[in-house]
């Protein structure tokens, strides 16, 4: 903004201010109503939902699935999405720091004197994109589940197989429904439609590395192995 535009804005603002209403009581009334509403919402949430206190902190756990508070879910999902180890520091400190710096220097990047959101398309579109991205990451982070639980609904006869799959670590590399990791293995949500039962059994016994072999599982408990194969081939 050059000096002329600044002066023009100040003159315009002076006119607006002259047309304005006194702070007390008009603005104070609006602020007060909103403040009361905020307080009512906080108290209502405290009474209706309460403050849960989970089990005591236990560093020796082998079953707990750590998750942050909901307002950090977008950063949490960013950490899940950035998989190459060499880029980990980008996801942890790099990207958030860059975004923060951009946010701070925003008034110096955006020199357009225009304020109407409909007349500054770049700013408005960027804002909407950022909000949509954060909302998407937050939702994805919220539904990310434990790698030893499968939440997909299956017919009763496949439930034992589903339990075997969940406790065998498949979700560590595969996605089944909403659960699991998106790599290094392909998603198994529709594997029953892609591969016949024999092919699934063969892959489990003789897989392509780095997938581990489940031949020991077949030796130890053929019943569980068959349940697993049946469950996987039911995924269509």
């Amino acid at each position: 903004m050059n000096a002329r535009e600044k002066e023009q804005y100040l003159r315009e603002y002076h006119v607006f201010k002259g047309q304005g209403k006194p702070f007390f009581p008009y603005t104070v009334f609006k602020d007060g109503t909103m403040a009361t509403l905020t307080l009512v919402v906080i108290i209502a949430a405290a009474i209706l939902f309460g403050a849960e206190l989970g089990p005591k902190a236990d560093p020796t756990t082998t079953t707990y699935t750590p998750r942050p508070e909901w307002y950090f879910f977008f950063l949490f999902e960013l950490l899940r999405v950035v998989k190459p180890p060499a880029l980990v520091f980008m996801a942890t400190v790099g990207i958030p720091t860059i975004c923060l710096v951009l946010l701070i220097i925003l008034p110096f990047i955006d020199r357009n004197p225009e304020r109407n959101p409909l007349k500054r398309p770049i700013a408005t579109l960027t804002g909407i994109t950022v909000i949509a991205a954060m909302a998407y990451l937050t939702i994805e982070g919220a539904i990310a589940g434990s790698p030893t639980e499968i939440e997909m609904k299956v017919a009763k006869q496949y439930e034992p197989g589903r339990a075997v799959a969940a406790s065998s670590g498949c979700l560590g590399c595969h996605k089944i429904g909403d659960n699991g990791n998106a790599g290094p293995g392909p998603p198994l949500t529709k594997v029953g439609a892609r591969l016949p039962k024999q092919a699934i059994a063969r892959t489990l016994i003789n897989p392509t590395p780095p997938m581990p072999s489940f031949s020991t599982l077949r030796q130890r408990s053929p019943k569980e192995f068959n349940e697993l194969v049946n469950f996987l081939s039911s995924l269509r």
């Binding site: 005591k56 902190a57 236990d58 560093p59 020796t60 756990t61 082998t62 079953t63 707990y64 699935t65 750590p66 949490f76 950490l79 899940r80 950035v82 998989k83 190459p84 180890p85 060499a86 980990v88 520091f89 996801a91 942890t92 434990s146 790698p147 030893t148 075997v164 406790s167 065998s168 670590g169 498949c170 979700l171 560590g172 590399c173 990791n181 998106a182 790599g183 290094p184 780095p210 581990p212 489940f214 020991t216 599982l217």
Partner: protein
Amino acid sequence: MGAYDGETVTRRRLFTGGALAAGGIATTAFALPAVGFALGPLFERTEPRMFQDVGPVGDFNPQSYVPKVITIDASVGEAGKSTVYVRKRDPSRDTDHLHQPYIAISNRCMHLGCPVRYVQASERFICPCHGGVYQFDGKVAGGPPVRPLDRFETRVVKGRVQVGPRFSLDSHLHRFKVRDPSNHVDGLWQYIYPSRPTT
């Protein structure tokens, strides 16, 4: 400028300099101890942990890991404990140069420190947080972890297995001084994430 010819320091300049110096000294006097207090722990040497008993030799086998609880910091009660996965060395599978009689693997994920769980069916360590997966010997199988799982020193004393201080490994399973989870140690990375006085 001064009271007589050639004098350069006026009364005003003297007092201005004096006020600034006195203010600086006063500020330093109460800020330095506070800063030192806050930063002190960064430079303290932590005592090396002693060896702890985790069970008789018969508890452990070469095919699967047994979780045991050890104490990392005794002053915080339950919050100072951790789980270690112990296995007897299998000469046919363990080709590393560490030559430990028993392999004790830490449950701390090398991405950001979440507790990993061992899954026997697939012989993998799986992290519940961000998708990290490790192989049977602790090396990374997939996901964002930056190096293999840390191990603990082990020894056998009078038929009982003992677990000692923790150390870190690079991707070829060479021993390094212990680091924080997200710190790489391969190649040049060990200088970007140096070991600190506290470790």
